[in-house]
């Protein structure tokens, strides 16, 4: 395509350059604020400060690099504006000269025609002949001028094209972008090892600027490859001791690193905290916007606006409860690490949190909840899990365990409160089973030495049973079902569930919730306490003076009151004790 020397507005380009300078000022002010915050934190001491310091120092440094890139871009734009202005001035001159030339050509043509006629006439004089010759010579001159001007114009078109190329190349330069634009394409063609080395070498703000292909490729790498790569970046480290490259990856790509099998769980924890906090901030913005929209809505739009607000508020509540997992009070597990094991900012948001350190615990159990569970239930489920851990700790072999509250699938909604009949089908369980298999497989790949158990409640047992039936290689020790909504009929017996041991508890529940889930299911599901199925039954009634489980829930009795309802993992229940024992075998 031919360049147009007149195209563009150098004044607007200069204004754009000035806008970039304003942007620099904002970044500089922000960086100054972060540096001041770091100074203000001077009298803060402890492990939490160490973690703070590692990240806070990266922001002003990154801001300075970004400001430097803006400097380079400003230079490119200023040069381009000057070039375009000069080219446009020159274009004006040439076009004016061409116009004058064209008028001279026209005048000469008319005059020459007349002079030639006169010189050829019967009464032509010597003067007529001279005039015609002079005008012919003038015609040659104006034609030469026209050619010269056209050549100048062509050169100017090329000059403009060169200026465009220079500006385009300048704006695409590594100095401006922090990375070469061809890099993304190159990354795609690199070997896994080269790709990982290249990604680890990027500063965080550059890493964050990459398109989805980088995140997608990282997410698709085998856990063993990821683990070797991560360890090579500075050791498996800890929350306080790790490398700048690891920190860059955590802060720039938290959604990837937080769920990347092979990355140690301390790093996933940090990444998922970032992701969840960012998701919560966005959810808060959505609530504010929905509230504003509701206030502005007319009568016809009010219902939809209210629904939008309700949905936004529900999402925010779920995210905030998930975040609260880091500090919710848990009984008798003081000082134990808590880790955000996974987080997916989807619809609905999903995630998992551990009590105990998944990088080191010798015995890890996943708690898979059932119908109606969302992230809003995170802290309640953690309290149930902490009861198991506290009970495990009463035994010598239970001092180094972890319990993961796994809300990693879109559980069917509560049929009793919503009328949604999804709990009677298998679609949600099948989808959830794949996710559970991926997460358990990721854990197993990272921790081949650890004992791994699954404790599943209600529809979670339906889901987990499919996972274990279809994945014999997960190395699960004990599989415990509590108030199961039924095991799918295509799984004939406990032997077809690839766990070394299977246990099942079924209480006399108020409203027979689990039983209803089993008998109304389609395809038909089996009660795992049905003796021929082959699971070891856990007695959910009064055993040795314990309290009988009488409701379908896991945790309804925080204080262990004798006269109150009891769920499967409440204090003083045989199901809690036996679950703890089963997961220690």
């Amino acid at each position: 395509m031919t360049a147009d020397p007149f195209a563009g507005d150098p004044g607007a380009v200069a204004k754009l350059s000035s806008g970039l300078a304003d942007h620099q000022d904002d970044l500089s002010a922000g960086a100054h604020g972060v540096a001041r915050a770091a100074e203000d934190a001077d009298d803060w001491r402890g492990a939490s400060k160490d973690r703070f310091s590692v990240t806070v120092g990266t922001v002003p440094r990154a801001a300075r690099r970004i400001i430097g890139r803006l400097d380079a871009a400003i230079d490119v734009l200023d040069t381009y504006a000057d070039d375009v202005r000069a080219i446009q001035d020159e274009a004006e001159r040439i076009r004016a000269a061409q116009l004058t030339n064209a008028m001279e050509v026209a005048a000469n043509t008319v005059s020459l025609s007349a002079a030639v006629g006169a010189a050829a006439g019967k009464d032509a004089t010597e003067t007529d002949g001279r005039q015609a010759r002079r005008l012919r010579s003038d015609a040659d001159d104006v034609a030469a001028t026209a050619s010269r001007l056209q050549a100048e114009w062509d050169a100017l078109v090329e000059r403009r094209a060169a200026a465009d190329r220079a500006a385009s190349a300048g704006l695409s330069d590594t100095e401006v972008l922090g990375w070469a634009p061809s890099y993304s394409g190159t990354l795609g063609r690199m070997s896994d090892a080269d790709f990982l080395a290249a990604v680890a070498a990027m500063p965080p703000e550059v890493l964050a600027a990459q398109d989805r292909s980088v995140a997608d490729r990282l997410a698709g790498l085998p856990p063993e490859t990821v683990q070797a790569w991560w360890d090579g970046l500075g050791g498996r480290g800890s929350g306080g001791v790790h490398s700048a490259a690891q920190d860059a990856l955590i802060t720039a790509l938290p959604a990837v690193i937080g769920n990347l099998d092979g990355v140690p769980y301390w790093a996933r924890d940090q990444a998922n905290r970032l992701s969840a906090q960012r998701a919560s901030a966005r959810a808060q913005d959505d609530v504010d916007a929905a509230r504003k929209a509701l206030r502005a809505a007319g009568p016809s739009a009010r219902r939809a606006a209210q629904q939008e607000l309700d949905d936004a508020a529900e999402r925010l509540a779920a995210l905030d409860n998930f975040i609260a997992a880091s500090r919710t009070t848990l009984r008798d597990v003081d000082g134990m690490a808590r880790q955000f094991v996974s987080f997916i900012d989807g619809q609905p948001p999903l995630g998992a949190v551990s009590i105990g350190d998944l990088d080191t615990a010798v015995n890890v159990s996943y708690l898979v909840p059932g119908m109606g569970t969302t992230l809003e239930d995170t802290t309640v489920l953690m309290k149930a899990g902490s009861n198991v851990i506290a009970t495990q700790q009463l035994s010598e072999g239970g001092r180094d365990t972890a319990m993961v509250t796994w809300i990693g699938y879109d559980a069917p909604r509560n049929a009793l409160t919503t009328g949604d009949l999804g709990v009677f089908g298998l679609a949600d369980a099948a989808a959830g089973a794949d996710r559970l298999a991926a997460d358990l497989g990721g854990f197993r790949a990272t921790r081949p030495d650890a004992k791994l158990n699954v404790v599943a409640h209600s529809y979670g047992s339906t889901t987990a049973s499919i996972t274990l039936h279809e994945h014999a290689d997960l190395g699960v020790g004990s599989f415990v079902t509590l108030g199961s909504a039924g095991i799918p009929g295509h799984i004939p017996n406990a032997g077809a569930i690839h766990a070394e041991r299977m246990y099942a508890a079924q209480a006399e529940e108020r409203f027979n919730v689990a039983h209803i889930g089993q008998v109304l299911s389609y395809p038909e599901r089996i009660d795992p306490t049905f003796k021929p199925f082959g699971a070891t039954e856990i007695d959910a009634s009064h055993v040795n003076g314990s309290s009988a489980v009488n409701v379908h829930d896991l945790y309804v009795n925080p204080n262990g009151a004798d006269d109150a309802d009891h769920g499967y993992l409440d204090l003083d229940t045989n199901t809690l004790i036996e679950t703890a024992k089963a997961t220690l075998r």
Binding site: D9, G30, A47, F52
Partner: protein, 96 residues
């Protein structure tokens, strides 16, 4: 995670100050925008390159904003954690 309180020493005022400074920085980063070219170049290849540059800048600036917000939240959470632990200890001492 799993903060041990034994080595932690910080005042609420410090954490509040850190939170506020980072919150203000986050606002600055979040509101800092790179202007659009609005046809100023008159040349597609320059406009395309500027768009890539602008996207890159906005993502990088977004990282600054996100990280500042996360750090502000971290300071806030640390304060909450200390307050929770304090309240829990008070409860235990009080026999609750």
């Amino acid at each position: 995670m799993g903060e041990t309180m034994a080595d932690l020493r910080v005042s609420y005022a410090t954490l509040d100050g850190v939170h506020d400074a980072l919150d203000a920085a986050q606002e600055l980063f979040a509101n800092a925008s790179v202007p659009t070219d609005a046809g100023a170049f008159g040349a597609d290849e320059v406009a395309d390159a500027f768009t890539v540059f602008r996207t890159s800048q906005e993502r990088s600036t977004g990282w600054l904003a996100d990280t500042s917000r996360t750090l502000a939240q971290y300071a806030h959470d640390t304060k909450s954690l200390v307050q929770d632990a304090d309240a829990e200890l008070a409860g235990k001492v009080g026999g609750k």
